[in-house]
């Protein structure tokens, strides 16, 4: 009888990537779910042997799914596959009943070793054929889906560095990807920053025909907790705020870009981070009237630190002329695996 596998991830690219790296000589029947809710519905309708579960998903995320599974009489072996590699995330999912954690994206060899070590798979020479129908056409994935998934992985890496340094747990959202006009960008920022006054740092990146800015915006109400988190006891002066901004942006943007660069295989050149403004409004940051650009491809990630009043908004703003190059690169990424 074949092994029943359920792959639960909100990203089509990630679901497909996961299915591709399953051992080819494994007799499996694979089904897919787009979020925890869908997975739970499938799991209560029929029994599965293994569930590959992502953590950051809309509707019902990985943690909520694990929690709901605890009341199931017959639940599958859950392997969490996530870009969120914070030690606390790994610990948390194991406490909640996951048998293993694997960082995203998983390679065929790593997964094979993991499955064998968990006694979930043993090589069957008689059945050496592709286990699943593989979607090869790159056109099946939109630019947004690809960009969302690579940002998702990069965001997890960055959070893990920050979490290690500060010993906290960073809450990770699903990154959003949109093409925005000048005015829309300001509205989008207004909506997510939700603060009257904010401070921002921007760093420019360029490489292989792709150019973008990484814009990091903090609401000014984050500073007291940021100081607390970094162990600063002095009074918060303007200089100290600059210090906190530069430190957090170095730590957050650096590893993120390294992870993006690795996935795209580009060694980006970058500028020194520039302090765009302190205690200003969003309208001061993005000057609609003076803007020389029309549209930007924007990836937005809102980081929050558990138990602290800190929220910051990371925006990757790609220039319009980077989009075709990016599309081309990402299509190779999908085909290559």
């Amino acid at each position: 009888m074949s092994t029943r596998v359920l792959i639960c991830d909100d990203s089509k690219l990630a679901r497909n990537q996961m299915a591709r790296v399953l051992p080819t000589d494994w007799d499996v029947e694979v089904e897919y779910a787009e979020n925890g809710q869908e997975a739970l519905e499938l799991l209560s309708a029929s029994a599965f042997d293994i569930l590959f579960l992502d953590l950051n998903m809309p509707v019902k995320d990985g943690y909520e799914t694990l929690e709901a599974l605890q009341s199931f009489s017959q639940s599958p072996a859950v392997i969490v596959v996530s870009g969120d590699v914070q030690p606390k995330a790994i610990e948390r999912v194991k406490d909640m009943g996951a048998v293993a954690f694997h960082k995203k994206p998983a390679s065929g060899e790593e997964l094979r070793t993991l499955l064998i070590s968990l006694d979930l798979f043993s090589a069957d020479i008689n059945n050496a054929q592709p286990a699943v129908e593989i979607v090869t056409a790159a056109e099946q994935f939109t630019l947004n889906e690809c960009l969302q998934e690579i940002s998702n992985i990069a965001m997890g890496r960055a959070a893990s560095v920050l979490a290690e340094m500060l010993n906290v747990f960073i809450k990770l959202p699903v990154p959003t990807v949109n093409i925005l006009e000048v005015g829309e960008l300001q509205m989008a920022l207004d909506y997510s920053v939700k603060a009257e006054s904010c401070s921002a740092v921007s760093q420019g990146f360029v490489g292989s025909g792709i150019a973008f800015e990484a814009l990091l915006i903090f609401s000014d109400s984050s500073f007291p907790d940021m100081a607390k988190l970094l162990g600063v006891t002095e009074n918060i002066t303007r200089e100290l705020e600059t210090e906190l901004l530069m430190d957090v942006s170095s730590i957050l943007v650096g590893p993120f870009m390294t992870a993006i660069g690795k996935q795209l295989n580009i060694d980006f050149s970058h500028s020194h981070p520039v302090l765009l403004g302190q205690h200003v409004t969003i309208a001061d940051l993005i000057n609609v009237k003076k803007a020389t650009w029309q549209r930007t491809l924007a990836v937005e990630i809102v980081y929050e630190v558990e138990n602290y009043q800190i929220s910051c908004d990371l925006m990757l703003l790609f220039t319009e002329d980077s989009v075709p190059t990016l599309e081309n690169l990402l299509s190779f990424l999908v085909e290559d695996e």
Partner: protein, 161 residues
């Protein structure tokens, strides 16, 4: 033979370029001891490369905020990610004079500093590199601009009263 000579010539101009580029370059080992000190650093600090190379960076400049800088460098080693220091947070990290003391308005050199991890062939981070940029012109312009803006604001508010 000619290949070897060519390789040496390549190395020579590469080194000449690093040495004379108008950016400060310092390479440190895990004990913060100087491994490379280019001529920008020599000329602005007055400490020659041969003297700098025997010492820890923290002892070359006695007035440096050592605890603070050490923490930054340890973070670069530990987190394997570059850390940036802007002139807005530490205007003059190293006590260098400005290039144009006569016609310029600043006495001291404003600096942006990037501290980057350098990975050895096996991937371990045993060294880091400090890159010191002279941003005196940018800084003085920005300071003058915001002073002018403040003055303008004061004047308009006085007028409207």
């Amino acid at each position: 033979m000619s290949n070897e000579a060519e390789g040496l010539a390549d190395l020579h101009w590469m080194f000449d370029m690093l040495h004379h580029i108008d950016v400060g370059l310092v390479v440190l080992n895990e004990k913060y001891e100087v491994q490379l000190w280019n001529s920008f650093m020599e000329n602005h600090s007055g400490v020659s490369s041969s003297i700098a190379k025997q010492q820890s960076l923290l002892s070359i400049f006695p007035n440096l905020d050592t605890g603070w800088l050490r923490q930054k460098m340890d973070n670069v080693f530990g987190l394997k990610t570059p850390i940036y220091i802007s002139w807005e947070q530490r205007p003059n990290l190293f006590p260098f004079k400005s290039y144009r003391p006569i016609t310029g308005i600043a006495n001291k050199m404003y600096q942006n500093v990037a501290i980057r991890p350098i990975s050895s062939p096996n991937g371990a981070i045993k060294h880091l590199c400090l890159v010191v940029y002279d941003v005196t012109d940018i800084a003085t312009n920005k300071i003058a601009l915001s002073a002018a803006n403040d003055k303008l604001k004061r004047l308009t508010s006085a007028l409207s009263k």
